[in-house]
């Protein structure tokens, strides 16, 4: 087929994406540089105040806290996910597809429902409290729900299957003979892991980490449901600017910074992946 025909096949979708994604996103970008009107509207004069306000200690603190929570969730998810992927890859080959399937299955169910399941477990009359009292514990239990830890657990729970998937891919391609050769040459198990297994699986780790971090730092549902009403992360702050505080330019500025962080991390991840595959090419 000639090169011109693809264009009319693609144009309806590309028009849709341009009209309802590219233009709206450019609009938000522009919005970040306008002034907020006195009654919450938008005044069309250029200003850098919104961007500056993001770095105001009050909001910078929320950014740092969100980054801290997202970072902790990403590290925990990578540790658990890597261990799980490693264990799956160590099982007999014919069992692996089924194990992987069941590791990913929860990821297919509704996000709100998965988060709600933790409310059922953690709330004051929840299952964990019931079990503790059933075992004869009569004292006051520490508050479990509506805490930072609950938010971290919720994030790890929701994104763990993705990390397992991302780490399993390079692990399953790993040639077991390489580890054997390493051990035959006298390397200890730990050295073999560190020098042979780990380098090959760096792209999976990077992908998993970046994915969990990016989805967590802008998350709005988990902090709102597991963190309680007062708990704020950037996602909630953006939400508030648009739906309650009515300061759209500031909300737009916040989300632009969010996008910048995301793009920076994705670039790093691409870099890590390319470097790892480059190193592999050199070895062979």
């Amino acid at each position: 087929m000639t090169d011109r025909k693809p264009l009319y096949l693609m144009s309806p979708a590309l028009a849709w994406l341009t009209g309802f994604m590219v233009i709206p996103c450019l609009l938000v970008l522009a919005l970040a540089f306008f002034r907020r009107g006195i009654y919450g509207g938008i005044e069309y004069t250029f200003t850098l105040e919104n961007i500056a306000l993001v770095f105001d200690p009050l909001y910078a603190r929320i950014f740092l806290k969100s980054a801290g929570i997202a970072g902790l969730a990403a590290v925990l998810a990578v540790i658990l996910g890597y261990a799980a992927a490693y264990a799956i890859a160590a099982m007999p080959r014919r069992r692996q597809p089924m194990l992987l399937f069941f590791a990913v299955l929860p990821f297919w169910s509704n996000y709100l429902v998965r988060t709600y399941a933790w409310i059922v477990l953690l709330n004051r009359e929840g299952l964990i409290a019931a079990v503790a009292h059933g075992l004869g514990y009569d004292g006051e239990l520490p508050k479990l729900l509506y805490t930072e830890s609950a938010v971290v657990v919720g994030l790890v729970y929701n994104y763990l299957p993705f990390v397992i998937l991302a780490c399993y891919a390079p692990l399953s391609r790993l040639n077991p003979e390489m580890s054997e050769a390493s051990r035959d040459l006298g390397a200890s198990g730990w050295t073999t892991f560190r020098r042979v297994v780990l380098p090959v699986t760096v792209p999976g780790i990077a992908t998993g980490f970046v994915f969990v971090f990016v989805l967590s730092i802008g998350n709005f549902v988990t902090p709102a449901l597991l963190g309680g009403g007062q708990f704020q992360m950037i996602g909630n702050l953006v939400y508030a600017q648009f739906l309650t505080a009515n300061d759209w330019p500031f909300g737009a500025a916040l989300s632009m910074v969010l996008i910048a962080i995301m793009m920076g991390l994705l670039t790093l991840q691409t870099f890590a992946t390319e470097r790892a595959s480059g190193a592999r090419r050199q070895e062979t």
């Binding site: 799980a84 264990a87 709600y116």
Partner: protein
């Protein structure tokens, strides 16, 4: 780890991770059938909480709205996304810019797309409602359909397309009679994925639905209910929503016989 990974350690890791993944969901499942509805005591098996759902007018309306949004946005996204996939795959030059635009809806944070669309619609003075949710859902849905179909087309034998054209078939006839049958399983798989994503999507719907209660979708209803705490009705509703998504995606996966992007 001398002499290969320790089997017992590996099994221990797997049990811990699978327990972490499945205990919360299983508890929810079990509780939804608990007659008394409380986690503190099992008072007998009952489906009465599922019956309560059917009598709850608000939930039924939200479920109906969700069905409308998911069906219409899936139909639109399937047509647009499939055409896009065919167009991209038969094009010889691969543009990085094009790839970015097609990939972006799958990775852009929901909250950003949500506020972008809300700003856009209100700037144009568009009344918000189910129609604006549908328009918004098509954005990410068409990208997912496109990527599922493209994966299929990568293994497609394009020589039969040339054969068809050499025998005098027009482009439209070739697409309809030769290309479409070959990629149909992927198109259906993509549509099922899109349907599920739309049924489950909360944030974008929340921002583009407007203030009225008429255009509340099921995830919005669930979110509102969850904020007031745990009730047996939510348990039952949660189990239904969870089962529908998992069943639809398992079917999609089966048709596609490959990985689902982003899933």
């Amino acid at each position: 780890m001398h002499g290969g990974p320790d089997k017992r350690l590996m099994l221990l890791i797997l049990s811990v991770v699978f327990a972490f993944l499945y205990v919360p969901i299983s508890v929810l499942f079990a509780l939804s059938f608990n007659e008394g509805g409380l986690p503190t005591a099992w008072t007998g098996f009952s489906v009465k909480w599922y019956g309560e759902l059917a009598r709850n007018g608000e939930i039924m309306r939200a479920a109906f709205n969700t069905l409308v949004v998911a069906t219409v946005s899936t139909l639109l996204a399937t047509v647009l996304g499939t055409l896009l996939a065919v167009g991209v795959e038969i094009r010889r030059r691969k543009g990085r810019f094009l790839e970015t635009i097609i990939f972006a809806p799958m990775i852009i944070p929901d909250i950003v797309l949500a506020i972008a669309l809300l700003s856009f619609f209100s700037l144009l003075n568009v009344t918000l409602g189910l129609h604006t949710i549908i328009v918004s859902h098509v954005v990410f849905n068409l990208a997912f359909v496109c990527s599922v179909v493209r994966a299929r087309l990568k293994t497609f034998d394009w020589s039969i397309v040339e054969a068809s054209q050499d025998l005098g078939a027009s482009t439209v006839v070739t697409l309809w009679r030769v290309v479409l049958p070959g990629m149909l399983p992927a198109v259906i798989a993509g549509a099922l994925l899109a349907f599920t994503l739309s049924v489950d999507e909360f944030i974008i719907a929340f921002f583009t639905a407007g203030a009225g209660r008429e255009s509340i979708t099921l995830p919005m209803q669930i979110f509102a209910m969850i904020r007031f705490g745990v009730t047996p009705e939510i348990n039952a509703l949660a189990v239904i929503v969870m089962t529908v998504s998992v069943a639809a995606l398992a079917l999609s996966q089966r048709l596609n016989r490959g990985g689902l992007p982003g899933q």
